[in-house]
Amino acid sequence: MLANFSAEALKLYKRPAAWALLLVALALSQVFNYLVPYAGYLSAENDRMAERILAGMMPENLIASSIAGFPLFAGALTLTLGALLVGSEYGWGTLKTVLIQRPRRLSVYAGQLLALAVAVFAIVLVVFALGALTSYAIAASQSVAVDWPPLVDLAQGFASGWLILMTWCLLGAMLAFVFRGMALPIGLGVVWILGVENLITGVAANLLDFAETLEKGLPGVNAGSLVAALGGSADGTPGVNTVVDGTQATLVLLAYAVVFIMVAAVTLHRRDVT
């Protein structure tokens, strides 16, 4: 499996689209976590509002700020990454070239999973690192005492962020196996993340009892609840909510991850490669 992982890692490392996704994730996290709030801070109507905005950008809020965008935009980007890595093997016909080299199908898939896990880890790491640098710079520029979150909380926040992004990434990979391509999985996945879940939670859950129950099992809702449980603000931050508690959110996301992995594995194992 390690040989397959090293092949997948080389492909991902050399792939411009993977770097583009990382850069977009970084840019969006910086813009919406720091740049826009900082502009709001500079033009705040009163001191109370300014203090509130500044507090949100401080190092002590690093966890909540860093993972605030994970349920929605960063999730959509890692879903794209998963669909890209798997789907392009079908689009370019390279899956057959890979499989006739030697490896077993599930071993190739394990290599892909590991490569995606590492890539998502890197995205979370860079988002946290850049967030730390920016929040430190803002604190220093405002002569505010720098207070970092406890290491345990940081690790928990980091792991939760990775779980959220990995769940979306696995959904993208699974859809790519099921549809044997890239475009449809990305389209469907993004529509689900940005549209369907919002319609269920925002419209259907208010009208129908079963939709309210269904809402508690949706991956995006659970991702948003996990962010809220780690200090994310459910007021006005898109995708962040308090529908379920942090423990349930973690378990539901883990269950989704397992299901996505299993469906993808069975699909790859059973289907002909044409």
Partner: protein, 306 residues
């Protein structure tokens, strides 16, 4: 010949897609160690489907196959098989060399093999360029290079000259001849008769998913025939049919094609002259593989209709 010499065997291999489409129908064939075997058939005959089954990419509906003593797709057999199936498929954003690096990792072969195979297919000069910038001929050669990474005992090439210009075809055929000249066994799938005729030791002809003939090129051609140009043709034909039987006489292009050996040439000439037929040409012609192939596939088509 004992079983040890068969590198690849299939028995009643069948692939169906739904109740109506039979892509490969009860295919039984054997490939011997060290030979260059031509898998000949028109487009859509089932060649690629067969090769995909032999490599474990698709599962047969029924029947069995053994590749280097293992089931198709088994890692131990794949470790000794190199293959290029249909068009060469690689990562467009990677260079030729990086594509081989990726494949070498999957195949678990040392990266030192990469430069050697690039030299073999004469691609070392362009190895740094992206795959997306390669011409079709270069892409095919990279496909062969990837197939050679494992220094395979069995090389499976599916239509390797497809889409190449005449010079590219000649280069590729020379390369295949070179690769098949030693101990290595080559299974070459093609619909190009000249290619198979030039390169292969033995040929299996497949049509509509069924193996309709197998043998050496000479065996398939079945020797030759006597071509007789004579006047009047109708009288010449009547006399020839009296001598050889109707089924051994065929009229083609204002001449008679007689299915008989060279030893009969003198007698036939004499008999025709005695019948007041003027013989202007009498020569031995060998049937081309193309003629044999078209005859076989036509007969197969008629059988199916019947």
């Amino acid at each position: 010949m004992d079983g040890e010499d068969f590198l690849l065997e299939t028995r009643c291999l069948t692939k169906r897609y739904g109740p109506r489409i039979v892509a490969v129908d009860n295919l039984t064939l054997t490939i011997r160690r060290g030979e260059v075997y031509g898998f000949l058939g028109p487009n859509g005959a089932g060649k690629t489907t067969t090769l995909r089954m032999l490599l474990g990419l698709i599962r047969p509906t029924s029947g069995t196959a053994s590749v280097l003593g293992r089931s198709p797709g088994h890692p131990e057999s794949l470790a000794r098989v190199g293959a290029l199936i249909e068009s060469p498929a690689f990562y467009p954003y990677l260079s030729g060399r990086d594509n081989l690096r990726v494949m070498a990792r999957y195949a678990r072969v040392p990266k030192s093999k990469i430069e050697a195979v690039l030299e073999t297919v004469d691609l070392a000069q362009r190895a740094r360029d992206k795959f997306s910038t390669y011409s079709l001929g270069m892409k095919q050669r990279l496909g062969v290079a990837a197939a050679l990474l494992k220094d395979p005992e069995l090389l499976i090439l599916d239509e390797p000259t497809n889409g190449l210009d005449p010079a590219g075809m000649a280069d590729m055929r020379a390369l295949i001849r070179r690769l098949g000249s030693g101990e290595r066994t080559v299974l070459l799938s093609s619909h190009q008769l000249g290619e198979v005729e030039q390169i292969c030791d033995r040929v299996g002809v497949i049509s509509a998913g069924r193996l309709i003939s197998e043998g050496t090129v000479e065996e398939l051609r079945g020797g030759g025939s006597l071509l007789v140009t004579a006047r009047p043709l109708t009288r010449a034909r009547k006399r020839a049919e009296e001598l050889l039987g109707r089924k051994n006489v065929e009229v083609t292009d204002e001449a008679l094609r007689l299915d008989t050996g060279t030893e009969a040439a003198g007698r036939i000439n004499r008999e025709l002259m005695n019948a007041n037929v003027e013989v202007t040409e009498l020569r031995w012609v060998e049937r081309t593989l193309e003629e044999v192939f078209l005859q076989m596939t036509d007969e197969k088509g008629e059988d199916d209709v019947g």
